[in-house]
Amino acid sequence: MTVSPTLLLDIVVGGLTTGGIYALVALGLNLQYGLMRVLNVAHGEFLMLGAYLTYALHTGWGVNPLLTLLITGPTAFAVGLALHRLLYARLLEGDAPESIESRSLLLSFGLMFVLQNAALLLWSADLRGYSYLAIPLRWLGTVFPANRVLAAAIALSLGLAFYAYLRISLTGKAVRALMQEPEGARLVGIQTARIHALCFGAGIAMSAVTGSLVSMLFELTPFMGLPYTVTALVVVILGGLGNMLGCLAAGLLLGLVETAGVYLASSDIRLISSYAVLSLILILKPSGLFGR
């Protein structure tokens, strides 16, 4: 089959809109892992909760879905601070790095079970959704839904803004210092526990905000989180653990590759391909595409 310019444009725009969402959700996971060695497999569950919160606010009180970002973000940040204080802070003190990795992984799996099933008890397994800004945008002979373009643009801007914050601000410098040299950072007076709490909260806030954006595009179920966790893992490992810019690039790349696969082959292979890509990268190049 020939790839016409219109099809190519479809794939590029479709891929970038999917990839923008992937990039933001993966950035949150990467922040937690890169800084604390906490592989939070409950990450997608916070996306699910963010989506349900937006759904509830929009359908219950008629709040504009975009405005709910201002609610889901801070709420999730506070929840993240609390979870860090209650669960993770105890693990992060004193233990050897390998010990932290396995134990926090198990802890996150426990959290995933709790959140997913609490959501099932609260909202049942029914599909829920609403329609927002499902207006077609016409450009160069192709058509895109406005909400997808908007969601991806917001996701990417938030990701880039966070990256800039890490580069420029004093707190961001402390975060980067802790990632590079934990001992040295402590020696110059950086408060590890405070930075850990902030980053844990920020990671969860990013996941929940992505959830608010996703709720404008797709229907919600309590099971929607895990596929995003897997995708975020693929992106993080693709971009290199702890590498924020690599993570944004890898998110866009994965979105493009997946969209091309769906257009050119079939949509059945999407799930197989993300697990297969994950396995292959783990085996062949665990340091990521952009790693040393």
Partner: protein
């Protein structure tokens, strides 16, 4: 001596149990024995080596699906054997690829395995054979199934008790304490790891195979990540460093799931998650065998392992 008598009495009680018990309690005992076998088989690899494996669901599923495919063609205990062989072969392949990974990478890889196997099987069945799912016609009777599972569980417990006294068992402890040091001392770490991983997978596959006839219809959803988690939680709850630990954990969680799972499914899973969180936070002793990868060189492996 007293411990040996207790084991013998327990064994005898389990052998006569199907005659004494009604169908409900026999079925409950069967489910718990299967859990015991899974938890013990998981612990004799992951306990000493400290490789956190989440592949149990994949091996269990591979065994169950194998039985479903070959059951019509082979007389009864043979499908279970076939299930064990298929699971072990899968473990050899996966182990060769994945046992070079450490820490969370290995855990994530093995977690993905059950999903990868499930989706690949769905794709294969829909596009090549044209059917998703298998009917299991004329399954063996419940008493036969009970003795099959009892035999597999007994073998798993025997393996777990004798393994630490063999050269491979000692090598496993060495790998868990410090893999590089073990290698320097002349242990063929790759062979030992993959070999015991495959042995443990064979038991998981056999249990999958033996439990498959309990469902009359089987589809690729039998590759269930929940099986992996339940197994890990059972073993960690009891303490993976001993043989009695996973058995106790399996019995406790087996009874809990019997009480909660049918009536309050989501509530059961929620409880399972809470148990896991509490175990990780409050029982680091039970976890010590898995989590502390590298210990100081002067610290010899603890005899409890």
């Amino acid at each position: 001596m007293a411990a040996r008598l207790a084991w013998a009495a327990l064994g005898a009680a389990l052998v006569v149990a199907p005659q004494a018990l009604g169908p409900y309690y026999r079925s409950l005992a069967l489910a718990i024995l299967a859990d015991v076998a899974l938890a013990v088989a998981w612990a004799f690899f992951s306990g000493p080596t400290r490789y956190l494996s989440l592949a149990t669901g994949a091996f269990f599923g591979a065994g169950a699906y194998t039985t479903a495919v070959v059951m019509a063609r082979l007389p009864w205990p043979l499908p279970v054997l076939a299930a064990a062989v298929v699971a072990a072969a899968m473990a050899l392949l996966v182990g060769t690829l994945a046992l070079r990974l450490r820490g969370p990478y290995f855990a994530v890889f093995t977690f993905g395995l059950a999903e990868l196997a499930k989706h690949t099987l769905i794709w294969f069945e829909t596009s090549i054979t044209g059917t998703v799912g298998r009917l299991l016609l004329s399954p063996p009777g419940p008493v036969t199934l009970y003795y099959t599972v009892l035999a597999v569980a007994g073998l798993a417990v025997t393996t777990a008790t004798t393994l630490p006294r063999t050269r491979w068992g000692i090598a496993l402890i060495g790998i868990g304490a410090d893999e590089e040091r073990a290698e320097t001392l002349g242990v063929d770490t790759t062979r030992v790891k993959i070999g015991v991983f495959a042995l443990s997978a064979a038991f998981m596959g056999a249990i999958g195979g033996a439990m498959a006839p309990r469902w009359t219809y089987l589809d690729p959803q039998v590759f269930n990540p929940l099986v992996s988690f339940q197994t890990v939680i059972m073993a960690l709850l009891g303490g993976p460093a001993t043989v009695a630990g996973p058995i106790l954990g399996a019995v406790f969680l087996g009874l809990l799931s019997e009480i909660l799972l049918v009536k309050f499914r989501y509530f059961y899973m929620l409880t399972l998650g809470l148990v896991l969180i509490v175990v990780v936070l409050a029982l680091p002793g039970g976890l010590a065998g898995l989590t502390r990868r590298r210990r100081p060189a002067c610290d010899s492996p603890r005899p409890t392992l």
